[in-house]
């Protein structure tokens, strides 16, 4: 290899005038390339290994049966969602993966539906509470959702009471619900990105 012909050198290093220089450049480039290639293998493998979390799929989209429609009231109730949780190499059954609020809504036409909200505040991730709190719009005490960390207050439909003044950029995150023929209520549990005005699943 060290005795590579000038023609070969020429073809790969055309813009270097001096033949000796061309040869040196080509050899250097080749050497550098080979060294880089040799190191690329462990670096690539290591990077793939280290960046594994990016390629993993989270909890998104799994449905959990939480209650039956009959058992729900219009007052939101807190439900803990449990599942087998895999933490790196170990798996533990029946671990808490999240908390949601679930309530019954009677529509205008008389039909009944279930509504679910993530209990995580879309602002900074605190646990939103439900209870008697001062409604900033009216100044009276009402049963509302409120975040104990930064004081945001939400109506029962998850909307911010004062959208303009709220710290949270969006209303409470609603979750998809499904009611089957026998009246069982399923909730599709998801976590969402915090702080954004748009609701994006993580």
């Amino acid at each position: 290899m060290s005795k590579s012909s000038p023609q070969e050198a020429k073809c790969c290093c055309a813009d270097v005038g001096d033949a000796q220089g061309r040869r040196s450049f080509c050899l250097s480039a080749l050497g550098l390339g080979m060294g880089a290639a040799a190191l690329a293998t462990p670096i690539y493998a290591g990077a793939r290994m280290a960046l594994y979390p990016w390629s993993q799929v989270g909890l998104a989209g799994k449905e959990y049966q939480l209650s039956t429609l009959d058992a729900l009231s219009e007052t939101p109730r807190q439900f803990v969602i449990t599942d087998n949780v895999t933490d790196a190499w170990s798996t533990e059954p029946n671990q808490t993966i999240g908390v949601v609020y679930l309530r019954k809504v009677v529509n205008e036409d008389g039909s009944v539906a279930a509504v679910a909200f993530q209990s995580v505040c879309p602002h900074a991730g605190c646990r939103v509470k439900f209870g008697s709190t001062k409604n900033p719009a009216t100044g009276e005490n009402e049963e509302l959702f409120f975040c104990p960390c930064h004081g945001d207050v939400f109506y029962l439909d998850g909307e911010r009471v004062l959208p303009e003044e709220s710290k949270s950029a969006r209303s409470m995150d609603s979750l998809e619900t499904r009611v089957d023929e026998s009246g069982r209520v399923f909730v599709k549990f998801q976590n969402f990105q915090l702080g954004t005005a748009e609701k994006k699943p993580v």
Binding site: L30, M34, A38, P42, A45, M49, T86, A88, E92
Partner: protein, 1069 residues
């Protein structure tokens, strides 16, 4: 431009860059520098991959193996990073050793390069230490045991050994633990890794310096020409040929490392031979043996290849004599010291020769020792190789199983992968069997068809209980339903049941129906004969009275005679008119036999007829019977019998008993005597038929072994039970002793769900339960009885039962037949299998629920019917009860009323009695008073009378006063008596009246006497005496009255006592 200037000024980067670009390579040939370049590259590789691994590794006893498992099998290219790290370290050790070796051989260790040599030697030693500590970090079986032995040698050092060992291990206990791992990680990364880096830098520096010295001064002799050339002032630019060669060296080094990484998957044969249940990662990179289980003995624990020489040396006999401590802590340090002294020894030419020769000798010894070590382990000629290979296989089994279980849907628990292995029936079953069962039970495949790759064989040197290999299979059960194999050692042969167990006896006598009897022969001598037993099954079928064979033949002959043309055939054969040709007769004979055979076949084809046979003949025996009877018709002797003139006539007259009677079979054999069974023709076929029935039972029971629980009773049948199962077991008389569906028996083991997992759990827990062996149990301990000491835990019993019945997690097949396999194939396969299992489970659950509902419905219906019946019955009873209750109530009311009445009466009577008593006592008192008064009065009267009689003369004088006194007395008496009379009550009126009367009389008399006395008082004393007599009489009367009142009181008392008794009786009632 300003930026570059600023940057250069602050950092010197631009200057460094231009220096880098214009870098000069040392002179001389590149081959001298190939190993150093390669070493630097390898070090960078290790540092790089080590950092990546460090980011995922978790040093603790419950997470080290698990995190390495995660790196190797779950993380993308984790196996590659780990493989490069592992093998680059091995190559580093080899190359640094080789480098030191070449330094000595080439004399490049001599001055002025002493420090270059020493730093290289330190680097080599550090790399060895790094390997030693790194080996433990995965917390795998091989690494643990290899490291454990090597570190345990520390204790050999006199004095400080134990303390030093505790310091390294991180605890007082000899076993390694989490602290050992944290320490080893620290040593591996900081001390040996960091130390290696420092040494590497120093080495480069010393090398650079030595060149400078050589260049400047020519006072060193015996310097190797390469070193001189390197130090030559004539340098050349690096960024030319040298850069290319450095790059090439890196690529070649990397290629070697990658070659090692892929060595276990280097050819298509190896890839094809992969275990289908393991992902491809198991065959890529560094091997990961199973998680550490200190309870196992890992026979294949060996040091890494770099320590193999030392390993063989430590096993030299001399060290077992003088002490192991010399092999580990004296000889190697001396050798290392000698190597360190080499530059000093080698200063002279002779010293150099000594060094070179000694190094060559040392190298030869190391290679030889290492070779010997490998030879012992791997050569088939070696004694140890078998146990080493077995240990390796065992470790591989555990390792593969650990990976399979780790990929199972349940995953690795927080307690670590060891828990998975400890709870795994597949791994623990053999260990438990060995511990608890193998003293009596063998576990060896009896036949090739029984052999399964799932099971290891466990040998018992003197088996005294059944061989349990394949205990849930039909083949195994068949051993127990065969009268010949039943008495084998593999079955009941060596148990207490061999001699007095009824199963063997039963099979021989009752199922296969023969027995040895003693009979007399013609000369009167005793002869042993094997006789047909009427109770045996064969006897049942071909025995004479009411047997199936007779039924069949009778029916055949009946049918035969029922057809006119058949009788024609007989006529033809008989040839009564004598005008039939012989050929026609023969033809008729053939036709007759054919006809009989046809009829016989028709009989067996007639399901209705077969079903009505008595006794019931099971299918396999039916076939045997048919074939036997068919053969009979083909039999010449029988045909001769049949075509006998009188015989044919009797058939024609429908009098064919002769052909099917008791003598039928005897005649068939040309023997009038009862037939010994072994002389009977065709008996083998019948015997085969029974055997087939027995085999059928084995198949039925093998189905039972697959159940979870005994079959439920649904729709009037046992769910999924073969329709012939119950009748076949009945036919073979199994249910005489065993429980089966519809039959409860506790003379022998329950055959419902026989040998199934749950049956085994119960059986192993307590074989002395009535549903198993009961009191007849032969030696088998109760391993987990309901009461008393348990020899195994419930979990262990379940694991053993799971293993025996083949119920353990089986990993799905993985797409691993390409070099890298499919990424995430194992997890995906496991998830797919789990989904499938869940689906199946859901279907099974639905089916079970449906079934449960059905059973519940049926039960409900039954219960309802029962309830209705019960209700009707209850109503009846209720009515009766009501009536009874009514009656009873009435009676009770009556009784109560009676009682109340009695009580009231009693009360009244008591009151009356007490009143009466009071009154009586009052009266008595009064009477007594009265009497006293009367007596007093009498006395007074007497004294008066005496006075009167004595003072007769003075009567005149005293008459006045006397008269007064008498009058006074009388008035007093009168008053007294009047008072007393008033006090008397109605009941005592009589006595009172009497009393009054007597009083009045006495008073009258006294008055009269007093008047008479008064009239003729001077001389008439007679009147006074009359008065005295009257007084006496009155006393008598009073006494009588008293007695009478006394008796009344007694009567009243008696009445009171009576009433009291009544009261107590009434209250008792």
């Amino acid at each position: 431009m300003n930026f570059v200037k600023w940057l250069d000024e602050r950092t010197g980067l631009v200057a460094a860059y231009s220096k880098f670009v214009n870098m000069q390579a040392p002179g001389g040939r590149f081959c001298c520098r190939a190993i150093p370049v390669s070493l630097v590259f390898l070090f960078i590789l290790q540092a790089l991959t080590g950092i990546f691994l460090w980011a995922f590794y978790s040093p603790s006893a419950t997470s080290a193996w698990e995190s390495v498992f995660y790196i190797q099998y779950v993380l993308p290219f984790g196996w590659l990073v780990r493989g490069i790290h592992h093998y680059s370290a091995q190559v580093f050790v080899a190359l640094s050793g080789l480098y030191v070796f070449f330094l000595i051989i080439h004399g490049a260790y001599r001055r002025p390069r002493e420090f270059v040599y020493w730093s290289a030697l330190v680097m080599f030693l550090l790399s060895l230490c790094s390997c030693l500590t790194g080996d433990l970090l995965p917390w795998s079986l091989s690494g643990y045991f290899a490291t454990f032995t090597r570190v345990a040698f520390l204790q050999l050092i006199p004095g400080i050994g134990v303390k030093l060992y505790q310091l390294v291990v991180g605890g007082p206990d000899p076993q390694f633990g989490s602290l050992t791992l944290t320490r080893f990680l620290f040593l591996h990364v900081c001390v040996f890794g960091g130390g290696g880096f420092v040494t590497l830098c120093l080495w480069k520096y010393f090398d650079f310096r030595s060149r400078k010295i050589l260049r400047n001064e020519a006072r060193f002799d015996n310097v190797h020409k390469c070193c001189l050339a390197c130090a030559n002032k004539k340098t050349k630019p690096f960024w030319a040929c040298d850069a290319f060669l450095v790059g090439l060296t890196c690529v070649v080094t990397m290629a070697i490392v990658l070659g090692l990484v892929f060595q276990r998957s280097c050819c298509s044969e190896k890839i094809a031979a992969r275990d289908p249940s393991l992902p491809a990662e198991a065959y890529l990179g560094a091997e990961l043996t199973g998680p550490v289980d200190v309870s196992t003995s890992f026979d294949a624990a060996r040091p890494e290849w770099s320590f193999r020489g030392l390993y063989t040396m430590s096993k030299l006999p001399i060290f077992s004599k003088i002490g192991m401590v010399y092999a580990i802590f004296v000889v190697p340090p001396i050798l290392v010291l000698l190597f360190f002294l080499a530059p000093i020894i080698g200063r002279s030419k002779f010293g150099h020769v000594v060094c070179v020769v000694a190094t060559l000798a040392f190298a030869v010894v190391v290679v030889d020792f290492s070779y010997k070590s490998y030879y012992e382990d791997y050569s088939p000629k070696s004694d140890h190789s078998a146990s080493f290979k077995a240990g390796m296989a065992e470790a591989e089994r555990a390792a593969n199983r650990a990976v399979e279980l780790a990929f199972a849907p349940a995953g690795i628990p927080k307690t670590g992968a060891l828990t998975l292995l400890k709870d795994d029936p597949y791994l623990q079953g053999p260990a438990l069997f060995n511990q608890h069962c193998a003293s009596c039970h063998n576990f060896k495949a009896q036949s090739e068809e029984l052999r399964s790759s799932d099971y290891v064989e466990i040998e018992c040197s003197e088996p005294t209980a059944p061989n349990l290999y394949g205990a849930h299979s039909a083949e195994w059960i068949r051993g127990f339903t065969n009268e010949n194999t039943l008495a084998d050692v593999d079955c009941f042969g060596a148990t207490a049941f061999a001699t007095d167990g009824s199963m063997i006896k039963f099979m021989k006598d009752n199922v296969f129906g023969g027995k040895i009897v003693v009979d007399k022969d013609d000369d009167g001598n005793d002869v042993q004969k094997f006789m047909l037993s009427p109770s045996g099954l064969i006897g049942k079928v071909i025995d004479v009275d009411g047997s199936a064979a007779v039924d069949v033949l009778e029916s055949v002959f009946e049918d035969f005679c029922g057809e006119e043309e058949n009788l024609e055939l007989i006529n033809t054969i008989l040839n009564e008119d004598g005008d039939v040709e012989e050929a026609a007769v023969d033809q008729a004979k053939v036709q007759l036999i054919a006809k009989l055979k046809e009829l016989l076949a028709a009989k067996f084809a007639d399901e209705e007829f077969v079903a009505e046979l008595d006794p019931q003949v099971p299918a396999p025996l039916l076939a045997a019977l048919q074939s036997t009877l068919m053969k009979t018709l083909d039999d010449g002797a029988y045909q001769d019998l049949l075509f006998d003139e009188t015989a044919l006539e009797s058939i024609r007259d429908e009098d064919y008993e002769d052909f099917i009677s008791e003598e039928y079979l005897a005649r068939l054999n040309g023997n009038e005597e009862p037939i010994p069974l072994d002389e009977l023709q065709y008996i083998d076929e019948l015997r085969d038929g029974v055997r087939a029935a027995c085999d059928g039972v084995a198949e039925i029971l093998a189905e039972e072994a697959k159940l979870d629980a005994p079959r439920p009773f649904v729709d009037g049948a046992y769910l999924g039970l073969a329709p012939n199962a119950i009748s076949d077991l009945d036919f073979l008389n199994c249910t005489n002793c065993h429980s089966f569906y519809g039959t409860e028996n506790d003379h022998a083991c329950d055959l419902r769900a026989y040998m199934s997992r749950n049956w085994l759990v119960e059986f192993i827990s307590d074989p002395t339960l009535p549903k198993f062996y009961g009191a007849k149990n032969d030696r088998m301990p109760s391993y987990h009885p309901a009461e008393g000491d348990a020899l195994m835990t419930q979990k262990e019993v379940e694991a053993l039962a799971d293993w025996l019945s083949g119920k353990w997690y089986r990993a799905p097949e993985v797409a691993n037949k390409t070099l890298l396999g499919e990424p995430g194939a194992a997890k995906a396969a496991s998830v797919a299998q789990e989904e499938l299992r869940q689906q199946e489970e859901a279907v099974a659950l639905a089916e079970r629920l449906e079934l449960d509902a059905k059973i519940a419905r049926q039960t409900a219906e039954r219960l309802e019917a029962e309830a209705k019946a019960a209700q009707a019955k209850e109503e009846k009873i209720k009515k009766a009860e009501e009536e009874k209750a009514k009656k009873e109530a009435e009676e009770k009311a009556k009784l109560q009323k009676d009682l109340a009445d009695a009580q009231a009466a009693l009360k009244k009577t008591t009151e009356a009695a007490s009143n009466a008593a009071t009154e009586a006592s009052e009266t008595l008192q009064a009477t007594q008073k009265e009497r006293d008064a009367a007596l007093q009065e009498l006395k007074t009267l007497k004294s008066d009378l005496d006075k009167v009689s004595s003072d007769a003369a003075d009567v005149q004088k005293t008459m006045e006063s006397e008269k007064q006194a008498i009058e006074q007395n009388v008035s007093q008496l009168k008053k007294q008596i009047a008072d007393q009379s008033a006090a008397h009550k109605a009941e005592l009126e009589k006595s009172v009246a009497d009393l009054n009367e007597s009083h009045r009389q006495a008073m009258q008399l006294q008055k009269e006497a007093a008047e008479q006395r008064l009239a003729a008082v001077q001389n008439d004393a007679q009147t006074a005496r009359d008065a005295e007599a009257a007084a006496l009489k009155r006393e008598q009367d009073l006494k009588t009255a008293l007695q009478r009142s006394q008796s009344t009181i007694d009567q009243l008392n008696a009445r009171i006592a009576e009433l009291e008794a009544e009261i107590s009786k009434a209250s008792e009632q």
